[in-house]
Amino acid sequence: MFSVVRDLIRYNIEFTIGVMLVGVIVAFSLLSFFSPVDPTAIYTTIPDMPPSGEYWFGTNSRGQDLFWHLAFAFRNTLFFGLTVAVLSRIISITVGLTAGYLGGWADRTLMFFNDIFVAIPIFPILILFYFVLRSDLTMMKLALIMACFGWPFDARLIRSVALGLKHREFTRHAVFAGMSPARIMYEEHLPYVMPIVFSTAMANMIWSIGLEVTLAVLGFTNINVPTVGTALYWANNHSAMVVGVWWWIVIPVVLIVMTFLGLFLLAVSMNEYIDPRSRLRRMGA
């Protein structure tokens, strides 16, 4: 594991940049644990102060110190993305490995549902959920709903790998040694699909955080929980761009773009690492 990371940093500039970008954002969000002010409280400082030595990111029209407010918002957003990624990985690994290894009718049934889920446009469905649940739509519930829709692409990818593994020598040995299908999938096949699981987890986080930001900007989540999306929602609500409080919009947008770019570069470089042809080309062999 360590040597893989070392190789990636040595040969892959994208990976290095990605690690740095995501690292900065994660460190920033972890700072919120040491926040001297309550990041959810409003009117705790002078409103509308531009970035300065005292207020690094300025303050917004609701009297919040943007540095601590955004640190907490990014912590929530990253945690949300991670939750969706973990939950949807569990579904996609289970479906993908089962469909690939068992084959036959199990494969056909699972892929039938898979194709249905791929084709359903999620955004109107999420809005429908907000419409019904209103302020009951907590971050956790939203994460759960999105996890239920975020697995099908990756399940198909994992299945295609599992299909190949099924006919390998070691699988046959495991069968002859009397391993149960469930144990073969989890002990023999799972390690082979882990690189895909990691790289799709990054892509999945981009997807879920992007959707969360979009829903929140429209005001379709619980707007009292600080996230990147709700920060932008309140900025729009106070017409930040028009009244000249530009830092309220520009800073979160720059930070979220850094997050997306970092996650995207990590996903791309891991994908490249998985494909031996492009790995060799990069090493100059």
């Binding site: 994208e14 039938f112 194709d115 249905i116 791929v118 084709a119 359903i120 446009p121 999620i122 955004f123 109107p124 469905i125 809005i127 429908l128 959920f129 907000y130 419409f131 019904v132 649940l133 209103r134 692409f153 981009i206 997807w207 992007g210 959707l211 930001v213 979009t214 900007v217 429209l218 379709f220 761009m241 947008v253 979220i256 773009v257 997306f260 770019l261 996650l263 995207f264 570069l265 791309v268 042809r277 492009s278």
Partner: protein, 334 residues
């Protein structure tokens, strides 16, 4: 030909399954809604002047029947499916007796137009540039484009649209940033109206194209850079086939097939992006209608938009699947 028909039939059954699942999910989610359309209308009516309790009670009864709420859930579900077949989802609340479906049908052409034009443009430009970048790997210009594509690709739709509004609305106001056509032009087939529609569509379409371009560019570049190492390409080069012909009909054509599959799979996401972009530019399509309906608590319109969205996206995927075997003869056998 017979194989193709079996293939088309199979895909059609799949289309039905997707539509059925999607609208069922939409129906049961909307059933959980605590907002009763009947009470909303009664509140609206009785807020204007005083009515006798009997009048209110009979109004409630009539409205309950009008919205079909006086029967048990399973019956409501079958009623819903039956009425969806004839395109009737009950009256809207936004514009009360107007059927919800009529509002959706008025908004649908705007969304379909914007979505179709921007998706086709994005897909073609992205794939052609990506194909060239994969084949001519030493071109500085295409390399620079690759770096830009990586930078822009992960930015969400909303932020790109928002930046466009700031740039072209406040900093350099040359293009209209809201609406589908100018207020002072009457909708007709006159040249001014068409020009007005086109001018209003530029910014929404441009932001969709900017967001989407990177994905296709990067995907195509990766595919092509693997294809050019294949033996048949080397052979064609050695045999002296013109470079232009190798790129267009040997390399890019082969890489188009997986990209077409990817398009079918990405369509749901692109649709969501279109809805968001419309909302930013106040474009009179499904997205704007949906947000208005949510804010007004109009369950009939929200449900109608969701159903139409599911049907539209599934149909588009079906159509893409149908042209698939024409590009790749191997698929017919499956």
């Amino acid at each position: 030909m017979k194989d193709y028909l079996t293939f088309a039939l199979k895909r059609f059954l799949q289309l039905l399954a997707v539509v059925f699942t999607g609208i069922s999910v939409a129906f049961f989610v909307s059933y959980l809604s605590p907002i009763s359309p009947v009470e909303t209308i009664i509140g609206r009516v009785s807020g204007q002047s005083a009515y006798s309790p009997q009048a209110i009670a009979s109004l409630r009864e009539t409205l309950t029947e009008l919205f079909g709420l006086n029967v048990p859930l399973h019956e409501r579900y079958f009623n819903f499916l039956g009425r969806l077949l004839v395109g009737d989802l009950g009256p809207s609340l936004l514009a009360f007796p107007t059927p919800a479906m009529k509002l959706v049908m008025l908004a649908l052409p705007w969304t379909v137009g914007l979505l179709a034009v921007s998706t086709i443009l994005t897909w073609l430009i992205g794939n052609i540039l990506g194909g060239l970048a994969g084949y001519y790997q030493n071109s500085r210009l295409l390399k620079a484009f690759g770096v830009i594509a990586i930078g822009i690709q992960p930015i969400p739709y909303y932020i790109v649209a928002f930046l466009m509004v700031i740039i072209f609305g406040f900093l350099w106001p040359v293009l209209p940033i809201s609406g589908g056509f100018a207020m002072n032009v009457r909708p007709s087939w006159s040249p001014e109206f068409i020009v007005s529609i086109l001018r209003h569509a530029i910014l929404p379409a441009a932001s969709l194209v900017i967001v989407g371009l990177g994905t296709w560019f990067l995907g195509m570049r990766a595919l092509v850079s693997n294809i050019v190492t294949e033996d048949y390409v080397t052979y064609a080069e050695l045999a002296g086939v013109e470079r232009r012909r190798i790129v267009s009909s040997y390399v890019i054509r082969n890489a188009m097939v997986p990209q077409l599959t990817a398009l079918a799979m990405a369509l749901g996401g692109i649709f969501s992006g279109t809805i968001i972009t419309e909302q930013v530019f106040a474009y009179p399509g499904l997205g704007t209608l949906l947000v208005r309906a949510v804010n007004a608590g109009d369950s009939a319109v929200v449900l109608a938009v969701s159903c139409i969205a599911v049907i539209a996206v599934a149909t588009a995927i079906f159509l893409i699947d149908l042209i698939h075997p024409l590009l790749d003869p191997r698929i017919k056998a499956q």
